[in-house]
């Protein structure tokens, strides 16, 4: 293990909360897309879709077209999502088995997946299923999604506890899939990955955060293309 702490000072401004990260990730989701949201921050995207955007949510356990969750105590165990929560029955849903569910994923039919990450490397390698020191982890559908979705977006906190950088030159954690990540949305920045050239391009920063502030918390040397925008 070779986790390099970034050189950091105090934060120049508050970081976005989990909901705000999800809201920024949700802004890029295109109406009508078939989307799989991972657990945690990614799942919150559903609460922040722009006006006029409706997505077809897919969950690995065999459901397409679910929307909000049932009220506490009213869930039906036979109508679950992949996070183990119970959505409501709504018109237009479809139920299917795990074979079909992973045909959809492996076959490249998922337009976007939003996932969490432990580490993302400069060429888009993703590690999100096991912390090495624990020695055991859970893959679930993450490897299939990361390797096969048309677009892989990471929504996560920019650093781990102790300001350990998660955006690294090379992942030191076991990979979920190599070269798969298209974009990273964090609590301080939006970073696009130019996989062909192994470059990370800073697109936006959180309010009050400069390029230098983000760079200080990022192991990978960041590029810019044109102006750096403001996350909103």
């Amino acid at each position: 293990m070779n986790v390099t702490p970034a050189i950091v000072g105090n934060d120049p401004a508050p970081r976005l909360n989990r909901a705000a990260i999800a809201k920024r990730a949700a802004r890029d989701l295109v109406d009508g897309s078939t989307v799989n949201l991972g657990i945690g921050i990614p799942a919150l995207c559903a609460d922040f879709l722009p006006n006029g955007v409706e997505l077809l949510y897919h969950a690995e356990n065999g459901i397409l077209g679910f929307k909000e969750l049932s009220a506490p105590g009213e869930g039906d165990p036979n109508l679950m999502d992949a996070g183990g929560k119970f959505p409501k029955l709504v018109p237009g849903m479809a139920f299917f088995d795990s074979v079909e569910s992973f045909n959809l994923i492996r076959g490249g039919h998922i337009d976007v997946t939003v996932l969490g990450a432990l580490q993302v490397s400069r060429n888009g390698d993703l590690a999100n299923w096991m912390i090495p020191k624990r020695g055991i982890g859970s893959i679930g559908g993450a490897m299939d999604l990361a390797a096969n979705a048309k677009r892989v977006v990471i929504a996560m906190e920019h650093t781990a506890r102790g300001d350990i950088t998660k955006i690294v030159n090379e992942c030191t954690f076991p990979l979920t899939a190599p070269g798969c990540v298209d974009e990273i949305i964090t609590d301080i920045a939006v970073i696009k990955i130019d996989r062909e050239n192994g470059r990370m391009i800073l697109r936006e920063t959180a309010p009050g955060w400069s390029f230098a502030d983000v760079q200080a918390r990022t192991e990978v040397t960041l590029d810019t293309v044109g102006e750096v925008g403001l996350m909103a």
């Binding site: 109406d31 009508g32 006029g52 409706e54 077809l56 397409l64 479809a94 299917f96």
Partner: protein
């Protein structure tokens, strides 16, 4: 547009959305001619069903014939035997089958499992074209054919099957032993377009099949670059039981509804 554009029942719980789901509207074609209009010469085209009238996208096939493009590769199953034998057609109807594309000279190749009937009297259009050197015919065992199509949709580039070992279809293919039995390596089969048939579509593109009309349709829907479906009826979202969705809307690009009372099965 045959679908009503009023807000669907699925909107009841939405607060902040002003535009009704745009995608399903865009999937509906106004005519069979429109639905196939961009199919170019040289395209590979999966045609759904099993063989026979049930599950065959007959109106889409007729539109493709009308379009007139050529050098087509057709991928089907039982192919071109209904016209001369009546296979899978009710007695009182004049059968239509994939042989039409060989009769018209539009197709130069077919990949299928059952291209000729037992009899040669009269010759099927496919056998006629083949005898005259105008058509290449690739005969694939049916289970291998459907699994190759399924594999294309499922992201499996290749798989091993016991079927065909020791027969002419094994020629030139990799053989490999697993647990003492020999298998052939078979590769995924995709296409530019899939013309399929379902009983119902909802406005989003979920499809419901009936009876034995499933056959090759659901797998083909997943395997082609563009999937075009002919249905008897388009219903509102919610008009198909979520337990009965046979093809997910994600796989469907275009939907055309038949005329009510169309006499063709």
């Amino acid at each position: 547009m045959r679908v009503k554009t009023q807000r669907s029942v699925s909107d009841i719980h939405r607060k902040d959305r002003t535009i009704w789901l745009a995608v399903p509207i865009n999937k509906i074609s106004n005519s069979f001619a429109d639905a196939v209009a961009d199919i170019p010469s040289g395209a590979s085209i999966m045609i759904g069903g099993f063989g026979g009238a049930g599950g065959q996208p007959t109106r889409l096939m007729m539109a493709l014939r009308e379009l007139g493009v050529g050098d087509l590769t057709i991928i089907g199953n039982v192919a071109g035997i209904s016209k001369t034998t009546g296979y899978g057609w009710p007695d009182h109807l004049y059968p239509i089958d994939q042989g039409m594309f060989f009769e018209s000279g539009q197709a130069t190749k077919i990949i299928c499992s059952f291209p000729v009937p037992g009899t040669t009297n009269p010759l099927s259009e496919i056998e006629k074209a083949w005898r005259e050197g105008n058509a290449q015919v690739d005969i694939v065992p049916q289970g291998t054919l459907i699994e190759r199509i399924r594999a294309a949709g499922a992201g499996i580039p290749a798989f091993y099957t016991p079927t065909g070992v020791g027969t002419p279809v094994a020629e030139g293919k990799e053989h490999r032993e697993f647990n003492g039995r020999t298998y052939l390596l078979e590769q995924a089969l995709t296409a530019d377009f899939a013309l399929i048939r379902a009983q119902k579509a909802d406005a989003r593109g979920n499809l419901q099949y009936i009876g034995t009309s499933r056959a090759f349709n659901p797998a083909m829907a997943t395997a082609a670059k563009v999937t075009i479906v002919e249905v008897d009826e388009i219903v509102e979202i919610g008009g198909i039981d979520p337990e009965r969705v046979g093809t997910l809307s994600t796989y469907v690009n275009r939907i055309v509804q038949r005329e009510a009372g169309d006499p063709l099965p």
